[in-house]
Subunit: 718 residues, 2 copies
């Protein structure tokens, strides 16, 4: 073990010869320490880090995973897995996010930088023991000290690099389905949004837009005039977002396949032939995304689509998912044939059935192929968790070459910490279950802790049939997530905002409009978090450290001013909320609503009608909104409308930029610093504009601690 | 349609020529009505009953089903199904319980007496529409009017007949696992309970105790001296409870099989050969339980085991579950062979996989066999939902012949309303998920509404690995369910009370001891509900009709005096509770605890440590407990200890009987009527003993509305 000090609070411990994941590129100063701070190290065939927990210790982190914001009581396996059935027993989802924070007598963060399997047993096997099992002994372990969980997270965010920033239009509502199959169907959907006066910025293309599921092709039958179609849709206000899959179809004459073969761009099997496994296109090869040349080649393929007017992509199936291989299919079929003549005893029958059920995403397959990293041949299993990461890195680097200063929409299903530098993620294939909505709420802050800011779930649920109430309640939560997309699977019930009755259409429309009205707040908070390396979503315990705040799992903070207490239960007409301090409850059913009420600190039960969204504005904080519009680019920022809850003094920094380029990195963004101060029986407002040329007027509704509303308007000087 | 009036509030509508399920045996007086009260009737190839719901309407009932106590928002299919994965999208579980209660502008109950598929769409397809789809147009529909949901339920309970009553020892804790495999393993478990001083009354035998899974056989290798073994265990205080499956193994020389063949006792296929399908024993035939002779024959087979000292049984696999048939296996294997040479496109691959995945419990199989009911040949699909019912009826009738006045323990997995006359049920194969614990809580009152009183779930969860906290919290709830059994599946983590750490052992032990101390209350409440045709568990809205009580889904009433607010979330250290009136919170961590606190009506947050159980005693009510013992028969009822929460006056009727026979039906039971009345600054107690010869003394702790504790003792006169 070699130990390094990165700064006085961050230590790095290197075992063996780790694969460079490029998540953290800091060497640090060599130290002589032979023990790891805080934990007991057990070294055998693998590494175990052991920490004794007190009953009151909380464990945060682990990004995209099941269960609570407090991860205690279960065991999580970082091994990116295409598994859409998110029952409580599942240990691995689509991402691998090896960062945890312990908050108790000791306070520290721990990042296990290993792209192979890592298991976090957080008091599951033994109630008071945290045990991290690291299979590959070539690993970097980072330990971060801090006074509070939030400090620790911010230190971690500092060392893992700047986050991906999407274009501003990607903060609009987005509509997806597997699949809107042809130009007419998509036009109908777009027209329906316009007709119903529901804002929407993007419509998605799932796998069927391709020719036989081949990446970077267009199925000409259904999309005969793709370029024109993309352009017409954009004129109507909608971007079209195609999916890109990880597997490349084996087909003579298919250019991507031919080039891949010719240049050795694919992962190979033991015999050094390209590794073959079946996914949507049938038998495929898999680009070796860990190889720089492959990444460069594949990334530039996105130009085929950007040349057709495409400005956003979603990378899918990049765990990589495997439906079957020749090996697993052969084995299963052989089992079936062998059993044909037998009077099967029941366990043999289950064995036979299992052969078919367990064919997909089989460990044996993941151990049977190889990457070429700088000439070194590495078994896939050792680097499994950075495959999707590197596919998405390839896309991001390609897009950067294609149009260097343009922000593209890009997000991925599979991920590893560090990938946040290149894209957002969605939380994968969920189900139309209420439990998934609650999981979505809990997952958001955990993902932020691991660096991922542009995030969201399939609103309404992907698999299984949704219903109107679930779509409404989920929309009322997702309207706060940076990625705000409704998506559903083939064969399931339609779940667009207008797919149910008139009431549902109206309620979801109003929720979406509130989102658009809140874009000034959401975009400001997102961009400030991105630039300052901060959280957008956080557990309320990150700001309030009383005992009850530490227990809250179903309320989260969104940006600096808002506490969300979403409704996530069927038939609920209200819910309990814990308020660590007095807050202003804004419960709009439309974005112009003035339904304000001061709610005193403590435990409260609030009524929440189906059409209402409970938004708590923290004390001495404000939110900024404007007029909704049918898409983000149509939002006029001439007037901002502030709702402020002020006891003595509140500050807000409104941020804006061109929404399209990376110029903000060069300081080309505007801010308006707003300050409201209680002065005797009135409020004094000060506004400092740095470079904003759009906003002409700011309207204030200031609510004081007694609930009295003060209305004011400030005109901005030029 | 023929209409009948059973009494002025109960109407019966007969369509066609319904199969007699024997659930309700009342003809009623013929009426001329040509419409069904409350609902709109649509008659086509099937029947639809349609009812427009207001937003505030609540729909109760449906027994063993997913989702809320209020069933609104989903679609439920009554079609008994062996499906252990209880995700929210599942529509059918093990039972078929076609009774619903509408509570809104109209108040009525509706029982669809059809043993074929019935679908209840409770505002799922259309948010404001209840639609009941009845596939088989030969059906009796019962409509029950009432002023309140509870009235309606009680009227329904009156017409469906007396409930099954188990022996008193069956209210003790019961330990199960698939499987404790041999005498030694079971002895070890029993000894461990004794050593750890944990009460337990029964240990279970899952399928492996049989010889090759053959009903009514004993595997001699593992149980060489079964009779002696049963007797020795009983001496130690444990009953042994074997499982009985629905399928009979096809095996030359196996007596049950041979007799079944000889006498035509099995269900037959289209060619009039015995229907064959594979379950645990491999290929099986299925006794035609709808046939009286078959029932009589099979029921008397239980004598083989009662002769060996067995006093209780659980009937399993009686939906009936089918793993595969020759047809489905052949088809799947053919698919596999056909696909061998092809380059499968991906949808053909999924078709192939589905052939194997969907082999079990296949509708085509259920439609391919037949029953002989009084000479009439009936397709199984038409009577599917009363198969398990009639298996259990067969057992109950058999046991009644074997020992007419002895109460046996008997419960079943599959069920239909009416089966409650013969046995209890457990809620089938659940999972070690927190969501299942909450579902368990919600399901209990719904099952009571459908007549089932002796009920409980697999505590700790059957499938998947459990953990110490889940076992603790689940035990703390199940200690109130009449059937209180911990059970887990093959290959999962051990989850007996002592399977984890010392703390867990102590906490679960104390919960189990509180159960034993509360047997006087639990048994009294159960027996009074059984005799008076009342509920043991009910939604709090059945007693309190304020708006918030109508919303509560996570608190239930248990007997007349207790409101339960269980902890069902991981890492929870407290919870919100709604109190419709002032109550006394008793939060014991052991049965002697005096941790009392008056909690004022309204919304409250309460701290609940892992070792504590929040028990709310309603105002002007009392509970009765005694000293815990290692098994129910060892409980000495010499002293009763009363905890009463009295504002002005409280009454309680303590019930007891021999616990072993049906003599209570002839009035051979004892009661002690207890009355506590506030008189100025003190309480006056009156006690009227009718026939109880055990109780010598009653100790009272009376807590007044201010929380002041009054301690008193009353000696019982002889």
């Amino acid at each position: 073990m070699n130990s390094f000090m990165i700064d006085k609070n961050i230590f790095k411990y290197t075992f063996g010869n780790p694969i460079d994941t490029e998540t953290i590129c800091l060497e640090g100063e060599k130290k002589d320490e032979q023990y790891i701070k805080f934990v007991k190290l057990e070294e055998g065939e693998d590494l175990n880090l052991i920490y004794k927990m007190d009953d009151s210790d909380i464990v945060y982190g682990l990004g995209e995973n099941q269960r609570g914001i407090n991860k205690r009581g279960y065991i999580y396996e970082s091994f990116c897995t295409d598994d859409p059935i998110h029952t409580e027993n599942k240990k691995s989802l689509y991402g691998a996010h090896n960062f945890i924070i312990i908050d108790g007598k000791d306070k520290f963060g721990m990042f296990i930088d290993s792209p192979s399997k890592v298991v976090f047993d957080v008091g599951y096997s033994k109630r008071d023991e945290l045990k991290v099992n690291i299979e590959d002994k070539n690993v970097n372990i980072y330990m971060i000290k801090g006074f509070k969980p939030k400090d620790i997270v911010r230190k971690f965010l500092k060392i893992i690099g700047d986050t991906y920033v999407p274009p501003k239009w990607a903060f609009g509502y987005q509509q997806s389905r597997w699949s809107y199959k042809n130009e007419k169907e998509i036009n109908d959907i777009a027209n329906k949004f316009i007709e119903e006066d529901i804002p929407c910025d993007a419509i998605y293309l799932d796998i069927d837009y391709m020719d036989k599921f081949k990446d970077f092709t267009i199925n000409k039958k259904d999309f005969p005039n793709f370029k024109e179609f993309v352009s017409n849709l954009k004129d109507k206000g909608f971007r079209l977002i195609p999916i890109i899959d990880a597997g490349v179809k084996i087909e003579k004459g298919y250019k991507v396949y031919e080039e891949g073969i010719k240049n050795n761009y694919f992962c190979s099997d033991k015999e050094e032939n390209p590794f073959m496994a079946a996914v949507w296109p049938g038998r495929c090869h898999f680009p070796d995304f860990l190889n720089k040349d492959t990444r460069n080649w594949f990334g530039l393929k996105y130009k085929i689509l950007t040349d057709l007017g495409i400005e956003g992509f979603w990378n899918d199936m990049n765990e990589p998912a495997i439906f079957y291989t020749d090996r697993s299919l052969k084995e299963a079929i052989k089992s079936a044939k062998d059993s044909e003549k037998k009077n099967l005893d029941i366990y043999s029958f289950f064995d036979l059935k299992d052969k078919f059920t367990n064919m997909s995403n089989n460990l044996e397959d993941y151990k049977s192929f190889y990457h070429n990293v700088d000439g070194k041949i590495i078994n896939h299993y050792k680097v499994h968790n950075i495959f999707g990461y590197n596919m998405t890195k390839s896309a991001a680097e390609g897009l950067k070459q294609i149009e260097p200063n343009k922000r593209f929409l890009l997000f991925s299903r599979s991920s590893y910490i560090g990938m946040h530098k290149f894209s957002g993620i969605w939380t994968g294939d969920n189900s139309s279950w209420w439990s998934e909505l609650l999981q979505n709420i809990k997952m958001m802050p955990s993902l932020n802790m691991c660096g991922f800011l542009y995030i969201g779930a399939d609103t309404g649920g992907f698999g299984n049939d949704s219903d109107s109430e679930l779509v409404i309640r989920w929309t009322q939560f997702s309207m706060f997530t940076p990625l705000f997309r409704n998506h559903s699977a083939l064969g399931t019930r339609s779940q667009e905002p207008f797919a149910f009755d008139k009431t549902t259409t109206n309620i979801t429309k109003n929720a979406i409009k509130i989102r658009y009205a809140l874009i000034p707040y959401i975009y400001s908070e997102y961009m400030k978090a991105a630039i300052d390396r901060n959280l957008y979503f956080s557990p309320i315990s990150f700001e309030y450290d009383d005992e009850i705040s530490r227990r809250v799992e179903n309320q989260i903070l969104c940006g600096d001013s808002i506490m969300l207490a979403p409704i996530y239960e069927q038939n609920a007409k209200g819910r309990y909320v814990y308020l660590p301090e007095d807050m202003l409850l804004w419960k709009p059913d439309n974005y112009l609503s003035k339904n304000y009420k001061v709610v005193k600190k403590g435990h409260r039960y609030i009524d929440v009608d189906l059409k209402e969204i409970p938004i708590f504005i923290r004390k001495n904080k404000m939110i900024v909104k404007t007029e909704a519009a049918l898409n983000v680019e149509k939002i006029e920022d001439k007037q901002l409308n502030i709702i402020a809850f002020v006891e003595d003094k509140a500050k807000y920094l409104y941020y804006d930029d061109d929404g399209k380029t990376y110029d903000f990195k060069k300081g080309r963004f505007s801010t308006i610093a707003i300050e409201i101060e209680k002065v005797e029986d009135d409020f004094k407002i000060s506004v400092k504009n740095k470079g904003n040329r759009l906003v002409k007027k700011i309207n204030f509704e200031i609510i004081d601690i007694e609930g009295k509303v003060y209305t004011k308007t400030i005109s901005l000087e030029k």
